[in-house]
């Protein structure tokens, strides 16, 4: 033993008078600011997309309904509930959260004698740490589990596209489509918003799996017009895409087009992929009036069930407004033909240039068939009926759009004024711009609408693209008079529109008469909405039907009228857009099958 060994124990006693380095009572000690403790969730921001549950390696998260939170478009109404018997505080749920509503606080101490207390729904079951700001949050920006920016779509430049009616959206390449598909978190929130409730996450997964044939089968489950819808769908699904809450929403429409574009225009190939080579006939017949989206959709789904379908089209080609209303630069004819050719290949007979009510009566169709579906669309233009609107140089947009397709002579003046703020107004504006460019080498169009810029019903991209092509869009003005001098149209006189609807939500525009403008023009095109032509309904038939506001035929939820054999759908009942028509036609087809098989 040396002297050091003797004195060392006593040196320890010198510590007695020093402050301890340990904490006397560690309970309640604040954790580090980014410590990963218990969850909190802003349930007003959360949309119940379930990505937190999907990523949780420990299956610690359930999605549960919460009282007071409604299930609606864009929100499942579910909220995550955490089982702390399984949670390992890895915070993957926070890092993937599409809305950034889910966070971990730095609270980590909690004592309870009830083990079930450790399963709770953050934000719903109130906790002391709900107001804490410290803890683990997704370190935004630049920290994302999925791409925030959509893969841009290649398009022709405005100067090039206004030169012709050639389709200007080029479509995704394989690499682009797979990259875009990779951004999908497969939550399925979009499916409820799609009027046809398409299996969107499933067909996007098919792109990731490079299985286009499976993608086609998923598309055709709910939508037999994928080439068409892949181009001109109003894509409401994208408005609610969970990835779009903190980034660009998925390009769902372009991905749908990508799948359809990969399959060659060969009806045999379609029949092979969709297993429809040999459908057994059930010896029942259904007549369909019109060949628009609702009619084609019902024809397709009825054909799958073995019905013999005869369609009646008053124009020389099928497609309805899709062909005769939507310009070729947005929806080329070969895309329309590709979808329709496959439906025709199932045995559907289309009788062209036959007007029901004139060449054949609805009653005859009823006699010759077991049921009738009418999807005759809105093909009549509506007039503003302002002074001068009866001049011969005042046109309806639907008539001109149809004439462009049929090849009829279309009047193209040097200065054109269009009245309307919807997609059809944009279609005629941009179509006339192309015709002006071809005829005069320049674009000179003013399009005006009652609605101000922020509430114009046209898709935003349509307005932007029209302006890019040289069209002038001046929203927020109400037409008062088509000005005529020496028998010729010289312009449109407008007043500033202050409001469109009155306090009872009735259409009753208010104007500021002091803010008057005149838009110069040699011709005026009205595009303020369309009406239906139900002249094929005889007086006797009408007696059996119920009519609602604006002369609209009333149907039940399955698009069956009060004449049980007559079903109606599409724009004349609900819409107006292609995807609603497709959904209507599908539902009506299933209801016709029910009606004919069960006598309902």
């Amino acid at each position: 033993m040396n002297i050091k060994d003797v004195f060392t124990p006593f040196t320890t006693w010198s510590k007695v008078v020093k402050d301890p380095v340990t904490i006397k009572n560690p309970i309640g000690r604040e954790a580090a600011p980014r410590y990963r403790g218990f969850h909190k969730n802003d349930i007003d921001v959360c949309i119940g997309c379930g990505t937190c549950e999907a990523i949780c390696e420990n299956q610690a998260i359930d999605l549960v309904p919460v009282e007071g939170i409604e299930t609606k478009s864009g929100d499942s109404g579910l909220r995550p509930r955490i089982d702390y018997g399984r949670c390992c505080w890895c915070a993957l749920c926070v890092d993937i959260c599409t809305t950034n509503s889910l966070n971990l606080t730095n609270e980590y101490t909690w004592v309870d004698t009830d083990p079930d207390a450790f399963i709770f729904t953050p934000g719903v079951d109130k906790k002391s740490w709900d107001t804490k700001e410290e803890g683990w949050k997704k370190p935004v920006p630049n920290y994302h589990f999925y791409g925030q920016t959509r893969v841009p779509m290649e398009e022709l430049h405005a100067e090039e596209r206004v030169e012709s009616f050639v389709e200007f959206v080029k479509g995704y390449s394989k690499k682009q489509a797979e990259e875009e598909a990779d951004r999908c978190v497969a939550c399925g929130i979009c499916t409820a918003t799609c009027p046809a409730h398409m299996g969107i996450p499933d067909y996007i997964a098919a792109i990731r799996n490079e299985d286009m044939e499976e993608g086609m089968r998923i598309l055709y489950d709910t939508n037999p017009l994928p080439e068409i819808c892949g181009r001109i769908c109003t894509h409401k699904c994208e408005d609610v895409c969970s990835v779009g809450v903190n980034g660009d929403p998925l390009s769902i429409r372009w991905l749908k087009r990508y799948i359809a574009d990969q399959i060659p225009a060969d009806v045999d190939k379609y029949n092979e992929i969709l297993y429809t080579k040999d459908i057994k006939n059930n010896n029942k017949k259904v007549a369909i009036i019109g060949t628009g989206p609702s009619s084609l959709s019902s024809a397709y789904y009825l054909s799958l069930l073995g019905y013999k379908i005869t369609m009646y089209e008053k124009l020389p080609q099928a497609g309805g407004m899709m062909r005769y209303g939507i310009p070729e630069y947005r929806l080329p004819y070969d895309a329309i033909d590709k979808d329709i050719d496959y439906i025709v290949s199932l045995g559907v007979d289309i009788k062209y240039n036959v007007t029901v009510g004139k060449d054949i009566t609805l009653e005859q169709l009823h006699e010759e068939n077991d049921a009738v579906f009418a999807g005759t669309g809105l093909h009549l233009g509506r007039s503003t009926r302002i002074p001068g609107s009866d001049h011969e140089n005042v046109y309806q947009s639907v008539d001109l759009l149809r004439d462009i397709v049929t090849g009829a002579e279309v009047p193209v003046e040097r200065k054109v004024v269009v009245i309307g703020g919807g997609n059809v107004a944009m279609d005629i504006t941009r179509s006339m711009a192309r015709l002006q460019k071809a005829k005069y080498g320049e674009v000179n169009i003013i399009t005006t609408s009652l609605e101000s810029e922020d509430i114009m019903p046209a898709d935003r991209e349509e307005v932007v693209e029209a302006r890019e092509e040289g069209c002038t869009i001046i929203p927020g003005y109400g037409p008062q008079e088509v000005m005529i001098e020496n028998g010729k149209v010289v312009g449109l006189r407008v007043w500033k529109c202050l409001s469109i609807f009155d306090e009872n939500h009735n259409f009753n525009p208010k104007f500021d008469e002091s803010d008057e403008r005149v838009f110069e023009g040699d011709m005026v095109i009205e595009s303020i909405g369309q009406g239906m032509d139900l002249s094929y309904l005889s007086e006797d038939t009408k007696k059996g039907l119920e009519f609602g506001p604006r002369g609209r035929v009333q149907t039940n939820d399955n698009f069956q009228t009060s004449l049980p054999w007559l079903f109606m759908g599409g724009d004349i009942i609900q819409g107006p857009d292609v995807i609603h028509g497709i959904a209507n036609g599908h539902r009506a087809a299933m209801a016709i099958d029910d009606f004919l098989n069960q006598g309902r």
């Binding site: 379930g50 549960v64 299930t71 478009s73 399925g188 929130i189 080579k277 539902r587």
Partner: protein, 186 residues
């Protein structure tokens, strides 16, 4: 770091050299040269501190990748020595004689990835999982979820909802179902 790499690259026929920065580099060395290189780095290049040893399962290539991470306290630099071994019946020369703590790492790797280190002390003993009889749990083809479901009982009172299915039930329960065609119908 570059000087060191210039010396050892030809000596050990290094196949893949990745310099992260001035103080950090990773190299891939052949299995038969790996422990010799680790020893050389310790004894001649000043990497006297053994930081850790780990493994990655490259299931697609049917390989396991061992990593020996060494630190040079004087130059404050780190080198990661990677070596790929076969995934079937994996075995690697033991390095327990170089640093004593490698005993423990090798026991852990045997339990987690099934890698044998012949001659390593107490290598046969359980590391964490007492009485483990299933396949090594860190291999990527070990199905953790299946194991948990077969081994443990579920907690009562838990149920969940798929958002899309739930929204369908709530918002559009009567959505028509297509008479789905499948291959057998042809």
């Amino acid at each position: 770091m570059k000087e060191i790499l210039d010396r050892i690259t030809p000596k050990y026929d290094l196949q893949d050299v990745s310099i992260k920065d001035d103080l950090q580099a990773y190299v891939v060395v052949e299995k038969k040269l790996a422990i010799d290189m680790v020893t050389y780095m310790r004894d001649y290049e000043g990497f006297s501190h053994f930081v850790l040893m780990s493994c990655v399962d490259w299931i697609e290539d049917n390989k396991l990748q061992l990593l020996y991470l060494l630190n040079n306290p004087e130059k404050k630099c780190v080198i990661g020595i990677k070596v790929f071994i076969d995934r079937e019946n994996p075995s690697m020369q033991s390095a327990h004689h170089l640093w004593k703590q490698i005993w423990t790492y090798q026991r852990e790797l045997r339990e987690a990835f099934g890698i044998d280190f012949p001659g390593s002390p107490r290598i046969e003993e359980n590391f964490v999982l007492e009485g483990w009889t299933d396949k090594p749990h860190m291999l990527r083809d070990f199905d953790t979820n299946k194991y948990a479901e077969e081994t443990y009982f579920p907690r009562t009172g838990r149920s969940t909802n798929d958002p899309a299915t739930y929204m369908r039930q709530k918002l559009y329960p009567n959505q028509p179902v297509t008479a789905k065609k499948n291959k057998d119908d042809e």
